[in-house]
Every structure is written in C-alpha cells, then in structure tokens.
C-alpha cells in the first residue's frame, strides 16, 4: 500500500473529528492530517485513539513558537487547539479566569481589559500566542522579573495525558496547596507531558496609568548599573530594558545603547516615579516614547530567525551582553529578569556548524555563572546541531514522561535527547 493511502486510512479512523489531510509544515515535515477538537472531551478521545494507533501528535496552538525544542522525530498528525478558545469561567472580583488553552493571549487580554484587568505577561513574539503555548514554552517577555510569568500565575489546569486520560490539578482559587501542582510540570515542558486543554490564571488590575522613559547611557556598564539602581528603589517599574545599538537601530533608527523604563501604576505613582528617575539619572530622560513592547517583540518574529535567550545573574549581564554583541547578535537585556534575548544574524552562507559551536561555547560560559542559554527559535538545521534547550538532564524528567505519555506520542522528541 502506498504511504498516501495508508495516511488516508489512518485519517479515516479519526473521521469523527473531521481530519483535514496535510497541514502547515512543522520542522519541514508535512503532517499526516490535522484535527481541531472543540472540547476537552474531544481532545481526550483523539489522544486515546492516537495512543491505540501509536500515532504521534504534534500539538499546535497559534504556531508562534513551533521552532522551539528538538526537531520532531517521527511522522505525526497535528492536534490544533484553535477551536479550544472559550472562556470557561471568569469572576473579575476573584481575580481568576479559566479559559481553554487555544485562546490567544490577545483575546484573553481583551476580555480582561473590559473589567480593568490583565494577565501581566507580554511574551515574544506577540499576543497572538495561545495561552497553552505560553505556558508550555515558558516564554515571558519584558515585564518578567518585575511581574510574574505564566509559571507563577497558573492556578490550575485540565490536561490530557498521552493515553487520553483527563487530569485536573489545582483549582480556581488564588491560593491553593491541595495536592501536587501538576500544572506547574507543564510550564516549560514544550508539551511533553500531554495536552494542556484548560488553564486557570490569577489576573491583576490594569494599571490606571503607564509611561515609557528613554535614557541613553554611554555604555553597557553604565546602562546596567543605572537600571539596577532604579530597580532597587522599589518604584512601580514594570520593566527596564537595555537595547544594543543594533536593536535600537531597528526600532528607532538610532544606533545607541538605550534604556527603556516601563512604569505602570496609579496616576500619582507614575508621575512621582518619572520625577524621581529624572532626578536620579545622570543622562537626559525622555518621556515621549509611547510603547516599545510590541516593536521589541516583533523584531524576533519569523520561523527561520535564530533567537536565543540567556539567563545569567545580574553581575554578568554587561559582560555577556558585550560578548553577544561581538558575536554579531542583536540583543536586548531585561535587567529585572536578568535575561538577555538576541537574534543571531544569519544568511544562506552562514556556517551553521560554526554558529552552533559559538553558541555552545557561550552556553558553557553562562553555565559557569549559574545561568543558561536556550535557543528559542531556529531552523531545523541549527536545532539539529545544538541542543536547543540546554536544560540539565534529570532522570526524573524521563520517568515523568514515561508516566504521562507512555507511548511517547505527544510532541515526540521535543525535549530530552533528540535521538
């Protein structure tokens, strides 16, 4: 039998879920077919069927982060969460919201904003990311550090194990220690422990007022040191971001180091903070910038871009940032989170082996400083030459995978040894 007809027969098995043959390429591979379940029950039924057929499933949300993790190592169908997009429960006064995992962050924020609330997360590359995707990729954004991330704000989840079993953990209250926090296991997991179908988050009131300040320090060291002194003063700052000349150039056509300070709070808080920072800074403070978040994030958008994130204790930020600039990486540092994000410029003639080696050496240095380097987005070629996550190997992670996805069918190969 030809492969095509085998695929057709297999997809027929799923006909109750209206499979569409093929689908958008993932890691350069065409899916056998794509299904879009509309409820947790459907997710469970699809996964159970896939389990019995030993069919691998790649879970796709908004596909903003499909080039993360190891390359998928088996033929697969796609379970797309786009139709899992409803609000399950929202009680503004309880500061909690439960939504299906395919809902985009943008839709979630829109709903919350009507009640003067938000989820204080602005992950790259955009709010089009699905909330489930945001949890499992662990991407955070410029507010991270001063504000919590998905792994902090997650209160509970409904997930589907690799054999179709539906599992709930946590709850819909803001504080809860009833049993193991299974939902935290999914944070940063790249979906390796099953499908996240529903999530409950703690939300916060939207700041009434916000402002963005722009300061041009003379050097990286001066920028980092000013940023740290501002952060240590307890101002209502949401982020302090230092952009390298390359990034500043892309954003504002100005090739300088720029420190962007995002302030959010009550009117008086914002005003008082602007005044205080202007008095503290030895460099002029410009408060006419409106927003940078979206611009900063979209710089790194696109499947073949090579985007890395380094986390390193603050004392090494300036050193590592300089090294990355020398490596021709366009970088910005989120000083509060102690993280540096950057895009490695590449072209068709870039030697991927060489780049992988360079990133590998940088990883060794940051590891010595108790930090990490992860590749958040890259081509199949680069991700095959260097372990994208750089996570330390823990045998308990393999054990957990065996328990939660016994046939290893969910996002096969994404984490752990890529072989």
């Amino acid at each position: 039998m030809s492969q095509d007809s085998e695929t057709k027969i297999l997809s027929q098995t799923f006909k109750a879920f209206k499979p569409e043959l093929g689908g958008r390429l993932i890691d350069g591979q065409e899916p056998l077919f794509t299904v879009k379940p509309e409820s947790v029950e459907e997710v469970s039924a699809i996964v159970e069927l896939a389990y019995t057929k030993e069919l691998a499933l790649v879970i796709a949300g908004s596909r903003t982060a499909m080039c993360m993790g190891n390359v998928v190592n088996r033929p697969f169908a796609v379970l797309d969460t786009a139709n899992l997009n409803s609000i399950v429960e929202y009680v503004p006064e309880d500061l909690t919201i439960t939504v299906e995992a395919g809902m985009t962050l943008a839709t979630l924020q829109f709903t919350l904003a009507e009640y003067g609330q938000y989820l204080p997360i602005n992950p790259p590359p955009s709010d089009e990311i699905s909330v489930g995707g945001m949890l499992v990729t662990g991407v955070a954004g410029t507010w991270r550090g001063q504000l919590p991330s998905a792994r902090d704000l997650i209160l509970g989840a409904t997930t589907v194990k690799g054999d179709g079993t539906v599992v709930r953990s946590g709850g819909r209250v803001v504080k809860n220690v009833t049993g193991y926090d299974l939902h935290r296991l999914h944070a940063g997991s790249l979906g390796s422990f099953g499908v996240v179908a529903e999530t409950t988050f703690k939300v916060l009131p939207l700041p009434v007022s916000s402002a963005m300040l722009r300061i041009e320090p003379k050097s990286i060291a001066a920028g980092v040191s000013l940023a740290k002194s501002l952060l240590n003063k307890g101002f209502p700052i949401r982020s302090v971001v230092l952009t390298s000349p390359a990034v500043s150039g892309l954003m504002l056509s100005k090739e300088e180091f720029i420190l962007f300070v995002d302030i959010g709070g009550s009117d008086v808080a914002v005003r008082q903070t602007i005044t205080a920072i202007s008095a503290l800074s030895v460099y002029p403070v410009d408060s006419t910038v409106i927003t940078i978040g979206q611009q900063l994030r979209s710089i790194f958008e696109g499947d073949n871009r090579i985007v890395v994130r380094v986390g390193v204790p603050q004392q090494y930020i300036a050193e590592i940032m300089s090294q990355m600039i020398e490596m021709n990486i366009a970088v910005f540092a989120n000083i509060a989170a102690s993280q540096i994000s950057g895009e490695c410029f590449s072209s068709d003639s870039t030697d991927m082996k060489e780049l992988a080696d360079q990133l590998g050496s940088l990883r060794e240095i940051v590891k010595r400083y108790h930090g990490y380097l992860m590749i958040e987005n890259a081509s199949v070629e680069l991700r095959s030459k260097i372990d994208p996550s750089g996570a330390s190997k823990l045998s308990v992670v393999d054990e957990l995978r065996r328990k939660f996805d016994p046939a290893q069918i969910i996002n096969p190969g994404r984490i752990g040894d890529s072989k």
């Binding site: 006064e93 309880d94 079993t165 504080k175 108790h370």
Partner: protein, 494 residues
C-alpha cells in the same frame, strides 16, 4: 496515639551504627527520651520515629538516604515541626531527618538579588538579616519566628503578604535536593525561567514526599519606600467581607488584607492589647506599600471602599510601634487562643473571595450547630480561611464531634468552589478529603508524580495522597484514643 516501633523487630542496631558512621555520634538520636520531641508537629497526630538524624551536609544526607533504602526504612524530612497538617509526623516510624543543623545563610547576594540558604534557616532570621541591607524575602508565614525555609518550600507556605507577592514557590529560583535513590539534583538555576519543565515548581509544595531539600536559592526584593498599615472596624463579618471585594474592585491590591472576627478579637485584645475595639463585629488589617504619594492615594481608595461598606472607624498606624502592635494581634492570635482555651482545632480552607460572606455565615452556623465557639483570623484577601474551633478535651467524644464539624466546614469550602488547604498542606490530616476535590484519574496522575521520583514509601509515606499502601484510612478513631490521657495545658489540634 503514640506508636512505638519495637527495636527488636527491625534490628535497629546495625542501622543506627551505620548512620553514626556517616554523621557522627552526636547527630543520631535513638533512645526513647531523645525521640519524644520528634513524634509530633503542631497537630494532634503522633508517632515515634525509630531514629532521628541531624546531618550537617548534603553529602551526609545522600548517604543517610542510601542507608535507609538499604535497611528499607521510610524517611521523614523535618524542619521545625511547626507544620499544621501532620506533615513531619513519622506515621510509619523509620528515620526522621531533621534539617535544623543545616541552618547557615550561605550567601546574601544583593547584587544579584538572591540569597543562598541551608534549609534549616529560620524564616524571620533571613528577613531580619536582609532588612539590614534594605531588602526582604517576601513570604512571611505567621509562624516565621520558628519555621524553617525548607519547611516553607516543602509546604509552599503562604502568609499575610501572599496577596500581593504570591506563595513561597514564586520566590524560589533553585533547589538542591536529595532524591529517593540518594542522588543529589539541582532544580532551576540562579536565574528565572530555567529551560525545561518546571520541576522546581513541582517540588515546592510536595511536603517532603519527593525528596529532601538541602539548599535553597531564594529571590530577594528591596524593602518598599513607604508602608501604611490600617485598621478598619466593622459591625459584621459580612460587611468586612464586602469591603474586601470593594477594595479589589477599585483596582487596589494591598500587600496584606487580613480579617479578625468578634470571637478572636475578644480573645486577642485582653491579652495582647493590639488596639482592636472589643465591641467590633470584625476588623480588617490592611497594609499598602509602594512609593509615598502612591501609598497615600491608594489608602484613600481603601478608606473609601471601607466606608462604603459601613466601616465605623478607620485607623492608620502613625508609628512603627503602632504598626507592630496591630500586627502582633494578628500574628500572636493562635497563641492567645491557646492561653484562653484548653484546646482548639484550627482549619485551613480556601474559597473564591466573592463567596466569603456566605461561606463565613455557613461556617459559623455549622460550628454553632455543634455547640462549638469558632474564632476566625484569616487571609481575607486570598479567601483563605482559618476557622478555629475551641473545645474542652475532657468532654467525652468531643474530638469526634470536632472532626465531624471540621469535615462539614471543609465541605462548605469545597462546595463553594474552593479547596481543602490554602497554605498548611494536606499532610496526614486531609488525605481523606482529597477525593472531594480530585477524581481517581487526577489522584492517579499525582501518584505517577510520586512514582517518577522513586518508590512511594521511601519519603514521608501516607502523606498527601489517600489510600497509600499500608496507611490508615481516616484518623478520627485514633485521635479519640490519643485523647484518653489527661490534657492539662492547652493543646493545639490544628
């Protein structure tokens, strides 16, 4: 009930000898007198361990774990034993590993905003040390004078300031742990958002069932520029609860929002003179922090919310002494109950904040239907209740009724969409309520977590999950037996 484990049955001598070889003679306790202090935590459950080990290093712990595996003994990690769910009670005997001698602050790294700590460091000791540098560590359980950071991480403890700052897990960067096979692992890193699944997050709150925490890297934050503590007085718990919602509705998240009801005010005020009006139906203790002008503006919003909900008086602490007094009333409330009543049973439930007024009414009605006085001091902003039933243990059958009443109160929390513990943990005490919250599939998945770390009976058996192998089902009957003896001083049945 104290369960003694006959030495002869387990042939402990070689075990003790091996342990002494690893940690030294002064770090191993094995005589009945020495073990008494390790039979209980702050709950009623008691059970005697066979041996207590007080190691000084992670390597020692790793060896101790390997020896215990070899001799097939369960291991129970223990901090200060201030836990409120029986978490550190060695219900199946075995070896208690006390972390109290690993109590060094290894590094206060202001530049990188973290502190590296041994698990036996006392919570307040860290806060005091950081305060001298203008920094703090946010999680502040009311027991912070005695509890260890290892215990805090193991229970994912909260405190009054959880409302704004989150629970312990939100402040932990990295853990060094000893796993059931004796391996030493590091979870997380010195920076936020370490790549890979968040095993650090999973480990926090695992109540000593997955391994022993041997080192903690915690985030530290600058102390606020300005702080305002207020006391708002109400006629009823319902109007105070409404004020809580009204404050949140106005977009203000105070750092703390605590409630004390009439019953507890009557107990606390005469003993502590915190300044709570004796005729109040309820008071709210509200704290706001930030930059000075913003704190002023927010406190105006809070005042308006309280007034709109019928507050009869709103007082702002004008000095740090006054602030401390107001807090003393809240933090020493449990001790005050102990001084006033021969015994009490403190519960920990959590409900959606909007359900607070109804839940509080129902809780008081249930307590009074059993004839118990019920005092309440709790984290109202988080919907985290601590109904406390006061009783005389000499009354026959009273403990059964206390537990039955407590069960009904827990049920009210669950039925309102809440859960059976907001910060004290499931421990031994609440395993039988787990089925009210979770399906068998959910519990099986939790069992999977345990198994992935190692055999379920290695660390802290019979905790968190119901129906553990060889574990008692429920404990009401046992408690009755335990109460057979004379109770002279106040007992906390928490």
């Amino acid at each position: 009930m104290v369960r003694f484990f006959k030495r002869s049955r387990h042939k402990p001598e070689p075990l003790v000898r091996e342990l002494i070889k690893v940690v030294g003679i002064n770090q191993v306790l094995y005589t009945a007198e020495d073990l008494i202090g390790y039979e209980y935590d702050a709950t009623i459950e008691r059970a005697a361990p066979e041996v207590v080990v007080l190691p000084h290093t992670t390597d020692e712990i790793s060896s101790v774990v390997k020896i215990c595996r070899q001799y097939n003994r369960p291991i129970v990690p223990r901090g200060s034993g201030s836990g409120l769910s029986g978490g550190s009670v060695p219900i199946k005997g075995g070896v208690v590993v006390s972390l109290t001698r690993m109590n060094k602050i290894l590094d206060i790294n202001i530049e990188n905003r973290y502190a590296v700590l041994q698990p036996g460091v006392i919570n307040l000791q860290l806060q005091d040390r950081l305060a001298t540098e203008g920094f703090t560590y946010a999680p502040d359980p009311s027991s912070q004078r005695i509890c260890t950071l290892g215990g805090n991480v193991a229970n994912n403890s909260g405190g009054p300031h959880t409302l704004a700052h989150g629970s312990t897990v939100n402040h932990i960067l990295e853990l060094e742990v000893v796993l059931p096979n004796g391996d030493i692992a590091r979870l997380g890193s010195r920076v936020l958002d370490t790549p890979g699944p968040d095993i650090r997050g999973l480990f926090a709150g695992s109540e000593g069932t997955l391994g022993i925490i041997t080192e903690i890297t915690a985030q530290i934050i600058p102390l606020p520029q300005s702080l305002k503590t207020m006391l708002a007085v109400f006629d009823t718990v319902t109007s105070a609860s409404e004020a809580v919602s009204s404050i949140i509705r106005r977009g203000v998240i105070p750092v703390a929002l605590e409630m004390l009801d009439q019953e507890i005010i009557k107990i606390v005020e005469p003993r502590i003179q915190a300044g709570y009006p004796l005729d109040a139906g309820a008071v709210l203790l509200i704290e706001i922090e930030g930059i000075p002008d913003a704190v002023d503006a927010d406190s105006e919003l809070v005042k308006a919310a309280c007034e709109a909900s019928g507050a009869s008086e709103i007082r702002v602490a004008t000095s740090s002494e006054e602030r401390e007094k107001l807090w003393e009333g809240r933090k020493a409330a449990i001790g005050a109950i102990g001084a006033a009543y021969p015994a009490f049973y403190l519960l920990d439930g959590v409900v959606p904040r909007t359900k607070l007024p109804q839940v509080m009414e129902d809780v008081l009605a249930v307590a009074s239907s059993y004839g118990f006085k019920c005092a309440n001091m709790f984290h109202a902003g988080d919907g985290n209740l601590h109904p406390t039933l006061m009783f005389d243990p000499q009354n026959e059958g009273v403990l059964d009724r206390v537990l039955e009443c407590a069960g009904e109160i827990m049920r009210i929390c669950v039925d309102s969409g809440g859960a059976i513990t907001g910060e004290h943990g499931v421990g031994l005490e609440k395993t039988s309520y787990m089925e009210w919250i979770y399906s068998q599939d959910d519990l099986d998945a939790m069992e999977n977590i345990r198994e992935a770390f190692g055999p379920a009976d290695v660390f802290n058996p019979c905790k968190i999950l119901p129906n553990g192998h060889g574990c008692a089902v429920g404990h009401a009957a046992e408690i009755n037996i335990a109460m057979g003896g004379n109770q002279t001083s106040a007992d906390i049945y928490i």
